[in-house]
Subunit: 227 residues, 2 copies
């Protein structure tokens, strides 16, 4: 392997979106009985909202806007009508997610040897806010907004070697989702699978390994040990 | 002022391009009598090369490619014919420039309070390589390649507030060149002038102040003190 840069899926791989969104729902919508269930519902609308853009049915639209639209729909279905300021704060929940316990230490160690950056469907402002709050030591912020393509469209993955002036196999894609790695491999990237069993709060347990990945690890610190 | 992010011109403002390029010329082309003069000649071809792109006469082309073409032309004019590997290494001189003495400390202090990133005509790989070598603690890498517009085209400056989800005046442009700040102000950015009297080795002395900038400083540490 001649990997020079590592790019990371973020939601679920670097940060625990479910706990973070539920925490902000509990704070901002105290009447909601089950904040985790609302977080799951909101997240369930994520892929369909991006599919509108991927399919070309709507022009490029950043994730903050898609999150707001999904939130408005979800609230309407539940007969909830918080003011605009509360809705705007809720959208910022996705900017304020906590990293998994190994993430900052692992990234800091990996940064000494590799260029590191997010390869996320989150928009740049979301990723920068998250990184500054959580101390994620990115060298560069890549991803959907820079590429103007949502994963798993090829244009998202292709943007990393193009912008970093590397060959595709010199870029390692790190993700807790096999479908993300399948799409990255199809573009020639080297892939690393991180098993994150708690992403969905135990409702869905991801596979223990991705046999087609160069490595399967259970944390970023293990990835740093092995690389 | 409600500035939330600071974006920085790089060549001349953050790093000393003339000394760094001359150092690499002396190392790689030991027969050249005056490496600083060659650095000046190379840099003199910078604006004309970008103007080909800005004018639309050629499609988007990253700075590494423009640097290589300018180098090939200047070597040919001087009857120099180093091998391809030496030419490629010389182009990487621009990835290996040293920061001015106050830059890392100043940026590190400013990063505690602001989102910081380069707003340079350098390509992303150049800026990432430079930052990792020199310890420039950028939060995000912005600039010409991300915007696909070379400064001083409006699209370059507009990309910073757009990607950071800020209003133009919430973005501060920091530069040692008044023309860069004039163009940034025209797009609504707040501007900060840094006086770098040594950029051109004393051949050209830039003005002591930019009276239209929000502040004029002589170092990034002074900027951190004042902000």
């Amino acid at each position: 392997m001649d990997v020079r840069a590592l790019v990371f899926d973020v939601f679920g791989t670097v940060v625990d979106w479910r706990s973070g969104v539920a925490r902000e729902v509990a704070r901002l919508l105290p009447d909601v009985d089950d904040p985790h269930e609302l977080a799951d519902d909101w997240r369930g609308r994520y892929q369909p909202s991006m599919e509108e853009v991927r399919s070309g049915r709507r022009p490029w639209t950043i994730l903050d806007v898609l999150h707001r639209e999904s939130l408005d729909a979800l609230l309407a279905e539940r007969g909830l009508d918080p003011p605009d300021t509360v809705r705007a704060e809720l959208v910022l929940a996705w900017h304020r997610l906590d990293p998994w316990p190994d993430a900052v230490e692992g990234l800091t160690r990996l940064k000494a040897r590799f260029t590191i950056g997010p390869m996320s469907n989150g928009n740049v402002a979301l990723l920068v806010d998250m990184a500054k709050r959580a101390g994620l030591p990115w060298d560069v912020v890549l991803g959907a907004e820079v590429a103007r393509h949502y994963k798993p469209d090829p244009g998202a993955y292709d943007s990393a070697p193009a912008l970093l002036a590397l060959r595709p196999e010199q870029v390692g894609m790190v993700a807790a989702h096999v479908d993300d790695l399948v799409a990255a491999r199809a573009r020639g990237l080297t892939t690393f699978y991180v098993h994150r069993p708690d992403e969905f709060g135990g409702r869905v347990v991801p596979p223990a390994t991705d046999p087609d990945a160069a490595l399967t690890v259970s944390s970023f610190t293990e990835l740093a040990d092995l690389l």
